[in-house]
């Protein structure tokens, strides 16, 4: 193993505590809630409070990551925040995070956007900077307060949450390799100034999500010489509960390998947070030697795949217990949801 190989030094997550049930949204639009819920395999989704946005979620996740990893935040040389709901069109979220965790001023920082995979793109940049020894630690965050037009299919799943990963050397899990599969596939978009994304409905499936994840996963597994059955865990981007289960089956993974990282049924689609939150949940329970495959998907379109091996240091790591955080929840009705999302103007 190369001594310079990057590893995950720490991680932290944050999911807002408000929830709305899919059935409650379906009730408003006159749809059969049970069939919508089972069709998507999503039962409820997280809702940001009125004072929460991508910046506050990123800061919470970053603080949890720094606290758990017990590193000196001053040694973080890069912070990238990936999101498609940055609070400002011009003015970075990453600087807000850097200031909040006291990593300023000796670092580079930037915001990324690549639909739901901007956070994992940030991870890849951190890996590159660490492996080229330009920085000691890099922090990559994927977070969103996902927008959905009232009445649109996205409204049942668009949720809020995020995760922060600190990349460095000699951490709790080695990142053995990472590859990406990228094409210009316009399945989902939001133009400048538009409040809600548009999407190509069924076009977001086979030629978009499935093609990119399957291709990236196969490319990486071939490169590192792994078979699906040899992984202890796999995490795939979760636009709903059904897609990751189907893509897992297509790649030869079994349900037990993906259950731990599958959060969408209980928190919805956290967009840039999705794959990273799933990976964080897996690390919450992983044992030394466990092998993990994580593959994100961002519309537009691309997938980043990571092959990860958990090492002995995980035993002493102060894990966050993300699933316990998710259990701490409060339900809201549709009217309250609309107020919290700032839809009443």
């Amino acid at each position: 193993m190369l001594p310079s190989m990057a590893s995950i030094v720490g991680y932290g997550a944050y999911v807002p505590r408000y929830r709305i049930k899919v059935e409650e949204i379906a009730r408003i639009w006159g749809r059969d809630g049970k069939s919508v819920s089972s069709g998507l395999y999503v039962f409820e989704k997280s809702v940001p409070a009125i004072d929460e946005d991508t910046a506050t979620i990123s800061v919470e996740a970053a603080r949890n990551a720094v606290r758990s990893s017990k590193i000196d935040a001053k040694k973080i040389g890069a912070i990238y925040v990936g999101s498609e709901s940055h609070p400002y069109a011009v003015k970075p979220t990453a600087t807000i995070v850097a200031e909040a965790i006291e990593a300023t001023p000796e670092l580079t920082a930037a915001d990324y956007e690549f639909a739901c995979k901007a956070g994992t793109a940030g991870m890849q940049n951190c890996i590159a900077l660490v492996e080229s020894k330009r920085i000691t630690y890099g922090m990559a965050i994927g977070a969103d307060v996902a927008q959905a037009a009232p009445g649109d299919a996205l409204e049942y799943t668009a949720a809020a949450g995020g995760a922060a990963f600190i990349i460095g050397n000699e951490g709790i899990a080695e990142i053995n390799d990472t590859i990406s599969f990228t094409t210009d596939t316009p399945d989902f978009w939001r133009r400048e100034g538009e409040p809600y994304p548009g999407h190509g409905e069924r076009f977001t499936g086979a030629p978009a999500y499935f093609r990119h994840i399957v291709s990236a996963a196969k490319m990486l597994m071939e490169k590192v010489g792994m078979k699906a059955s040899e992984y202890d865990y796999a995490v795939f981007h979760q636009p709903n509960g059904k897609f990751p289960m189907r893509v897992a089956k297509m790649l030869g993974f079994e349900k037990k390998q993906i259950e731990e990282g599958l959060l969408c049924p209980i928190i919805g689609n956290t967009y840039s947070g999705s794959t990273m939150l799933g990976l964080a949940c897996v690390l919450d329970v992983a044992k030394p030697g466990d092998r993990i495959l994580a593959v994100s998907y961002g519309s537009g379109a691309g997938s980043d795949a990571f092959d990860i091996t958990v090492n002995d240091a995980i035993e002493d790591y102060e894990r966050q217990n993300i699933r316990k955080m998710i259990e701490n929840k409060e339900y809201v009705d549709y009217g309250t949801y609309m107020k919290l999302r700032g839809e009443f103007k």
Binding site: D32, S35, H199, R202, F203, A206, P207
Partner: protein, 388 residues
């Protein structure tokens, strides 16, 4: 008037063909038909292409010229005409091609039909399709095609006791047939329960009572019967090609349990071909919704008016039934790229009459019928084809 034969057929796979553009679909179907007929491009005298709403689905009108360009026939400067009659565009293009050859004006005519529907999202597709209804008096007031056919279904159920299960059996049969058709959009077999459990679109029509949004193209090559044998050992004679019209709106019709235009076209077609409904060995009918197939088999005289549901339940129209209907899977399972449908129906009948329909082959099929409808019945085209 000369007798006319089909000497070549070709079609693309139907479905969500994301990776192929409209022009690629047109080219693929056209080239397949030309190769099947064994003709040279220079022999083609005219083109007709059916397309319902290419302008709104892909922003492209003037597809007659487009078809000539993709075929590489521009130097011949042959006439190429786009034909529109909503979902009967393909059938009407066939009728035009038939007239052109029968009249003696042209010898070799290529008829095509194509639609690329998945470049727009669902709600927009529904709106575009609603342009085949009466925009001023139906669509502007919220009527959609599922809604209009649901009204017909409700009336049929009320008047004749047709049941939801019988409607569902049309979908079950057509999905079974689709499972045997490599070019079908849906190859998954379904049960009556699957249909009844699928989401309600317009009461009593569930999602699985409705044909899908599809991409695809189909083509056929026509020639005078007297020279058809020069090109193929198995020319299929068009023994009748009849087009009929009725009111654009559903509410303007004299009756709601039938499509009078289809009844009229069928009557004239049987007279022209000199056959009776019971002589038909295989039929492709316009099952845009399950109720449409039940009404169609009544309008075509396969069963008495009102007995279509019962006949379907009893297997009259099944692949091994007395008159197999929609052996291709029909619009329901094969897919319904609106402009292509009428020509795709001809493709299936020709395959059946040539004995080339593979696993879904109807034994000793010698007379086939294609029934193509535009809108809620404003246009109907019936073709009768025969082995010679």
């Amino acid at each position: 008037m000369r007798d006319v034969a089909v000497i070549g057929i070709g079609m693309t796979e139907f479905g969500e063909i994301w990776e192929k553009s409209f022009r690629e679909l047109v080219a693929e179907a056209g080239i397949k038909a030309i190769m099947d007929a064994g003709i040279e491009g220079e022999e083609i005298d005219a083109l007709y292409i059916g397309g319902m709403s290419t302008g709104r689905f892909i922003g492209q009108e003037h597809v007659g010229s487009l078809a000539v360009e993709v075929a590489g026939l521009e130097d011949l400067h042959i006439p190429s005409t786009r034909v529109e009659a909503a979902c009967a565009s393909g059938g009407v293009a066939m009728h035009q091609g038939y007239l052109a050859v029968a009249s003696g004006m042209y010898d070799i005519v290529v008829v095509g039909g194509a639609e690329k529907m998945t470049d727009v999202v669902g709600g927009e597709a529904t709106n575009i399709l609603a342009s085949a209804a009466d925009r001023e008096w139906e669509a502007f007031f919220g009527a959609t095609f599922p809604g209009l056919y649901a009204l017909m279904a409700k009336y049929h159920m009320h008047k004749y006791g047709t049941t939801q299960e019988q409607l569902a059996m049309v979908a079950v049969k057509n999905h079974y047939n689709g499972s045997l058709n490599p070019k079908a959009q849906f190859k998954r077999r379904i049960s009556v329960e699957d249909v009844l459990k699928s989401p309600m679109v317009a009461d009593p029509l569930h999602l699985l009572d409705c044909s899908p949004i599809s991409d695809g193209a189909a083509a056929a090559v026509l020639a005078p019967l007297e020279i058809a044998k020069n090109y193929t050992d198995k020319p299929i004679k068009i023994s009748a090609s009849i087009q009929a019209t009725d009111t654009l709106s559903l509410h303007g019709r004299k009756r709601f349990d039938a499509l009078p235009a289809a009844q009229h076209a069928a009557k004239l077609a049987y007279e022209k071909a000199g056959i009776k409904p019971k002589d038909v060995d295989v039929a492709e009918v316009h099952d845009c919704f399950t109720i449409a197939e039940i009404i169609a088999i009544e309008d075509l005289g396969f069963v008495e008016k009102g007995k279509g549901g019962k006949a379907t339940e009893e297997g009259l129209t099944a692949l091994d039934g007395e008159i197999p209907v929609n052996t291709s899977g029909g619009l329901k399972a094969k897919g319904h790229p609106v402009g292509a449908t009428g020509v795709a129906q001809i493709n299936e009948i020709v395959l059946q009459l040539r004995g080339e329909a593979g696993e879904r082959q109807v034994k000793e099929a010698e007379i086939g019928l294609a029934h193509n409808v535009g809108g809620s019945g404003g246009t109907a085209v019936v073709h009768i084809l025969e082995v010679i």
